[in-house]
Subunit: 233 residues, 2 copies
């Protein structure tokens, strides 16, 4: 009755194409291969890894879907290192939604938590440039509204800018994920001028509170804003 249950499985997949993709992926993460670098063509890769072309192709497919490379056909083409992970991330998140793994309620609850944390840190850490960017964002949004256009893009951007102002790259990534989900939820609805205008006004008030460092007021405003957005789904 020995406890030989191998709990940790740092071992790699035994399939050859997994080892190949892992090795290339490691080189990219370590920075040996940088964005824009061109990988050898499939045949050459096969020789270097001592595997067949089919194996290389499946490895490239994995790297492509994981957002580490892109592949182009034709002369001068081939696999190129390019980071598209966040795009692939939103694709997968959409899948999770379509498979009903995430509900709107769960999403809103999580969003509230993370956006509040971002706001809290942004109040402490935002520098002049961040404030300027946020002000410019609102000006852009109001300009669109004045021309009876919907300010969807700037409204999404506002939260990204806020995340950047928090000076925590973890929040930036989490916020991007939230934005992706939000975007998917919204894409099913037709854009609404009224909702868009309300969002811009909420952002404006929020920024004012941030500049004045009125923390509680800002958090309350954010609460109302997120819950209002939730209703618009």
């Amino acid at each position: 009755m020995s406890v030989d249950k191998a709990i940790f499985t740092p071992v790699k997949g035994k399939r050859a194409f997994e080892e190949v993709s892992s090795k290339i992926k490691a080189l990219i993460i370590e920075g040996v291969l940088k964005s824009g670098d061109k990988l050898p063509p499939e045949g050459e890769l096969g020789k270097q890894f001592n595997v067949g072309r089919q194996t290389i192709r499946e490895a490239l497919r994995i790297l492509e879907l994981s957002g580490f490379i892109t592949v182009q056909q034709g002369f001068g083409g081939g696999p190129v290192v390019k980071n598209t992970i966040s795009r692939k991330l939103s694709d997968l998140i959409l899948d999770a939604f379509q498979m009903k793994e995430i509900s709107v309620e769960e999403f809103t609850a999580a969003r509230l938590v993370i956006e509040k944390a971002i706001l809290n840190d942004a109040i402490d850490n935002a520098d002049d440039q961040d404030i300027e960017d946020l002000q410019e964002n609102i000006a852009k949004a109001k300009d669109l509204l004045a021309r009876k256009q919907i300010a969807t893009d700037p409204n999404f951007e506002f939260h990204s800018l806020l995340a950047r102002a928090s000076k925590n790259s973890v929040f930036v990534i989490l916020e991007r994920t939230i934005n992706a989900i939000h975007h998917k939820l919204r894409s099913q609805k037709t854009a609404d001028f009224k909702t868009s205008k309300a969002a811009v006004l909420a952002h404006e008030k929020l920024l004012d509170a941030i500049i004045k460092k009125e923390r509680e007021k800002a958090i309350n405003l954010l609460d109302q804003h997120v819950l209002a957005v939730r209703k618009s789904y």
Copy 2:
């Protein structure tokens, strides 16, 4: 001057394997293919889609990496519909982290926010089964400590169980990601019996506060615990 801008372009992939994977994926999302259903072997799929085996294989690779199917070799094996999307999601998020060089400080700050939110929801939503699982987890950890072994695995599991008790699948995904990063940070250090023991004791106190629904006390305990863990890096 007709508006022939094709707005609905769900299928942009020219490549054959993308069309094949999209079709199978659609069948799964629509519910025509359900979890546990066995797909035909590669050769048979090739005949049905009128493409070669290589094309089928690349399509299956995509579905596998996207978390829609698993594939097993040998007699009675083959592709089987199985939802592992959330696992694939945290894998991708981890990739995003590794490409961005997150600092320990940023990670700890984000961890604190998310774990607190999880704790808050867990206090409200944990059912009897969740509490039982958490108690069993601590018992397992203490048993290991009594035999002078390090309780790393149960200690990681504790936070996963807590996330599950929050009844929010978004938190489950985020927590899994945090665990993966945490694990990565820890892997550079040799495991420490003292630290492990302290964590178990912290978990025990925390669970006690959760059961008694002492919210503030629980959050304070979590604060101390996470910051203590941060020092161990």
